[in-house]
């Protein structure tokens, strides 16, 4: 890893940026140097601190320590308005466009050219936007409603909007997550033109191929710190992957297999319809079996059907075809609650959206989904005494740091909230656990604790379907790894031989097939 010499002028220079949130250090002493006229990639795993860093640069919060320089001058951003004023623009992963307005209206929204007596000068705007479109060599019907545009086009509108506000430094937050490969190429063609005109692009991603193919320089972030600054010439795919996950990839060798012979989860030929009518299937021909004592890992870039798979197994979305057996019983048509009482447990993707009642005390949270258990209820009533005792047991056993079980869940740090959710889901004597990102956004200590619990439960015969974006976690815990791409299972890998590099090529859909 050679450190590039800073020949060109620095468009953005962050030094010593530290940002902490209660209980979590999101960024620690981060340095970032972006030369003007380049596409600069910031890569790192989910939760590595990329988003926090970009929010700092876009003025969405003030860093605790460190300085920001733009074009050599030191600046302080109290709000995004300050950042926009010096020419920084952000294109969000989730588009912020008004569907019912036209392209033109969306581009000028919030920055309308206003003439005398507050009249909109639409013709001026139209002329300026046309000039911008020409320089980018993109073409739009400016009067078409945004609702009629495809995803790739909407993204181009977002970029136009940012440029129209006079941005010279563009931040793109995982812009390719929502695009199909062809659109990805178009996007980069646009970005190339932008930098050739002297603008600067900061590109946040964890897709290594795109980064290596299209970017000029790369900064790698791991666990909130900058670990490397390199270029595509100096590093290959494997090297970059190791930088991302840390070179101390856990050695899976020497593990004893505990895989039993009883299937606890059988998914056969499952298909689930796409989000809108006429869209392609969100899940297609999914078949696999998890045995007792087995951890089956699901690798894949987010949004390739993992969420739909969990929803289908839980019975929360209608299936187009296929069957689901849990603990040997055909529960294809059963309601969610029956599946849960048959031995299914679920650590959801997002603990705030699906895992916790934030305003309710911990003891109510440990009862969520378990209020029908005979130990926690009597007749139609809930048994608060038993629920509190159970809550204290989980707090003790899973090391949840809290003053008591009466504290509302929002008062806990993210890691402790997650431990509570994991504790609850593993305390129902499940036979099969769907664990979606079980350690996302938690500190290293809580991560180790959760891994230990998963391992010992597996040793005791629990089957686990582990969905994770953390390759270290997948390789370290899984007995088999299935790769999901575009709603299908495209490969089955042996974690003993899989490397982040191999996983990466499969996850991006580059290679499809069984690589044992």
């Amino acid at each position: 890893m050679s450190t590039t010499t800073e020949a060109g002028a620095l468009a953005v220079e962050l030094s010593g940026i530290t940002k902490t949130f209660p209980g979590v250090i999101a960024n620690k002493d981060v340095d970032l140097r972006v030369r003007s006229g380049t596409i600069h990639a910031i890569v790192g795993e989910n939760g590595a601190g990329k988003a926090t860093l970009m929010k700092t640069l876009y003025g969405m919060h003030l860093p605790d320590e460190g300085t920001i320089r733009v074009d050599g001058r030191e600046v302080t951003f109290r709000s995004p308005t300050d950042a926009i004023a010096v020419g920084i623009g952000m294109v969000n992963q989730h588009f912020k466009l008004a569907d019912n307005l036209t392209v033109l209206e969306n581009v000028i929204l919030g920055n309308e050219p206003v003439g005398a007596r507050g009249r909109l000068r639409l013709d001026d705007a139209r002329r300026d936007i046309r000039a911008l479109m020409e320089s980018l060599s993109v073409d739009f019907d400016l009067d078409a409603p945004v609702a009629s545009l495809g995803v790739g086009q909407r993204q181009r509108v977002e970029i136009l909007k940012v440029l129209y506000r006079g941005a010279r430094i563009l931040i793109l937050d995982e812009p390719t997550a929502v695009l199909v490969p062809q659109e990805v190429e178009e996007l980069f063609a646009t970005l190339k033109r932008l930098v050739s005109e002297g603008r600067t692009v900061i590109f946040i991603s964890h897709k290594l191929d795109e980064v290596l193919t299209y970017c000029n320089e790369i900064t790698v972030i791991r666990q909130g710190m900058t670990v490397a600054h390199t270029t595509p010439h100096d590093v290959d795919r494997r090297g970059l992957a190791e930088l991302m996950v840390g070179s101390d990839l856990p050695n899976p060798a020497g593990r004893t297999s505990h895989v039993g012979t009883t299937p606890v989860l059988e998914v056969h030929d499952v298909a689930v319809a796409g989000a809108s009518a006429g869209a392609k299937l969100a899940l297609e021909a999914i078949s696999f079996t998890v045995h007792d004592g087995e951890v089956v890992g699901i690798a894949g870039v987010e949004g390739n059907g993992q969420f739909e798979l969990c929803e289908a197994i839980l019975g929360l979305v209608p299936m187009v075809s296929g069957t689901v057996h849990i603990a040997g019983r055909d529960l294809t048509l059963a309601e969610t609650r029956e599946r849960i009482t048959s031995g299914l447990s679920y650590i959801p993707f997002d603990r705030h959206r699906e895992g916790l009642l934030l305003d309710a005390p911990l003891w109510e949270n440990t009862m969520l989904g378990r209020e029908d258990e005979p130990e926690l209820s009597s007749g139609p009533f809930i048994s608060r005494r038993h629920a509190e005792a159970e809550s204290r047991r989980i707090i003790e056993r899973f090391g949840v740091r809290t003053p008591s079980e009466q504290v509302p869940a929002f008062a806990l740090s993210g890691g402790n909230q997650q431990k509570l959710v994991v504790g609850r889901e593993m305390s129902t004597a499940p036979k099969i656990l769907l664990a979606a990102h079980p350690t996302r956004g938690v500190d290293v200590g809580a991560q180790a604790a959760i891994w230990d619990e998963l391992r010992s439960a597996r040793d005791a015969g629990l089957g686990v379907l582990l969905i994770s974006a953390d390759l270290e976690e997948l390789i370290g815990l899984s007995d088999r790894i299935l790769v999901m791409f575009d709603g299908r299972i495209t490969a089955e890998l042996d974690p003993g031989r899989a490397t982040p590099e191999i996983l990466g090529t499969h996850m991006t859909g580059e290679v499809q097939g069984v690589a044992k």
Partner: protein, 359 residues
């Protein structure tokens, strides 16, 4: 251990009391501006609290408010804002007046039948809004407002065209056929305080037990608190919406029963008017908790009852209405501010307690 909860309850109660005081303060300013003596106004108003007849009247007025606030609160627990209590009450009033007058049963049975009819018809009307929300995604605020208008007109038309009777010896007021004596809800204090108060209190107790003590109530609160989390545990959000809308409407049906069964004994226009709307304010001040609702309903009932005394002192009695309005506004603002402050307090406290353990 339970101390934290008690503290939270105390903070909640204190914020409502604070809101009432702020409202008094603002009302005093208004009185001063209009050239009236606020001290005299308040001593007259609250001096009435010692009068037994005023207390009885206040409780009588509080009775429907307790029930309508409970109806609103059960919706709030599920994040539903049922503004349609008024309309549901109105539909139930006419339905009960008609059915109750058409049958003759022994007293307890007759009253029970009337209450059941009231609840069923109220639930049927609110069920429309629930069904629209579940099946068509219609916002319940919009649909219940619209259903209020429809109920008002529908009931007025049905009453006028089918059910009104003009008795030659009675006053000019038109009513439906009078209910037989067996359907009259007995008074606790003759002509002053109706026994429906006991029903209202029973409703509040039942509300507390169901929402806070049962598995169903837990699921209801979970769905209201975080629909996503409830959903993945197998609680159908749609089903909970429909159920809580039906429950809310059933209670709304009971709101007018003090006026119908305990007072007028027949349907007439303007019967129990506004009592459905006023429940929203009472539920807000009472923070959707039965105990809070109980006291808020009595406060609002008292303000209504004692305001008459103001006129004797040449102070417009509307000041009591203005005060009720300001109380509601103050509650909304102060509650939100206090909640934010309290949330931060709890978070800080949890953090410091943990540090103490670690040290």
């Amino acid at each position: 251990m339970k101390r934290q909860q008690l503290q939270r309850a105390a903070v909640t109660a204190a914020s409502s009391v604070l809101a009432v005081f702020v409202a008094l303060l603002i009302s005093a300013v208004i009185l001063l501006i209009t050239g009236k003596d606020p001290v005299k106004a308040f001593t007259t108003l609250f001096g009435a609290a010692g009068d037994t007849r005023v207390i009885q009247g206040s409780l009588n007025r509080a009775t429907p408010l307790m029930i309508s606030a409970a109806a609103v609160a059960i919706g709030f627990k599920m994040n539903l804002f049922n503004i349609g209590v008024e309309g549901q009450m109105r539909v139930a009033l006419l339905a009960t007046a008609v059915v109750g007058a058409a049958v003759d049963l022994p007293a307890p049975l007759h009253i029970a039948l009337c209450l059941v009819v009231a609840m069923a018809s109220g639930a049927a009307w609110s069920g429309i809004a629930g069904w629209l929300k579940v099946k068509r995604g219609v916002n319940e605020v919009i649909s219940t407002i619209m259903l209020n208008f429809i109920a008002l007109s529908l009931v007025a038309w049905a009453f006028d065209d089918f059910f009104r009777v003009e008795s030659p010896n009675e006053s000019v007021l038109v009513k439906t056929k009078e209910l037989p004596k067996s359907a009259w809800f007995p008074d606790l204090v003759d002509r002053r305080l109706n026994g429906m108060l006991l029903v209202a209190i029973a409703v509040l107790i039942l509300f507390w037990v169901i929402v806070w003590k049962t598995r169903f109530g837990f699921r209801l609160r979970a769905s209201g608190g975080n629909p996503g989390a409830a959903r993945v545990t197998g609680v159908h959000p749609q089903r909970m919406i429909l159920i809580s809308m039906l429950l809310s409407g059933a209670l709304a049906g009971l709101v007018g029963m003090r006026a119908l069964l305990g007072d007028v004994h027949a349907y007439q226009n303007n019967l129990a008017e506004q009592q459905g709307f006023n429940g929203i304010a009472v539920a807000l001040l009472g923070r959707n908790h039965p105990l809070g609702i109980f006291f808020s309903a009595i406060l609002f009932g008292f303000l209504g009852e004692a305001s008459g005394k103001l006129q004797l002192e040449d102070i417009p009695k509307e000041i009591a209405t203005i005060m009720s309005g300001i109380i509601v506004l103050a509650v909304v603002i102060i509650n939100e501010a206090v909640k934010r402050w309290d949330d931060r307090r709890i978070q800080r406290k949890a953090a410091t307690e943990l540090e103490k353990v670690a040290a």
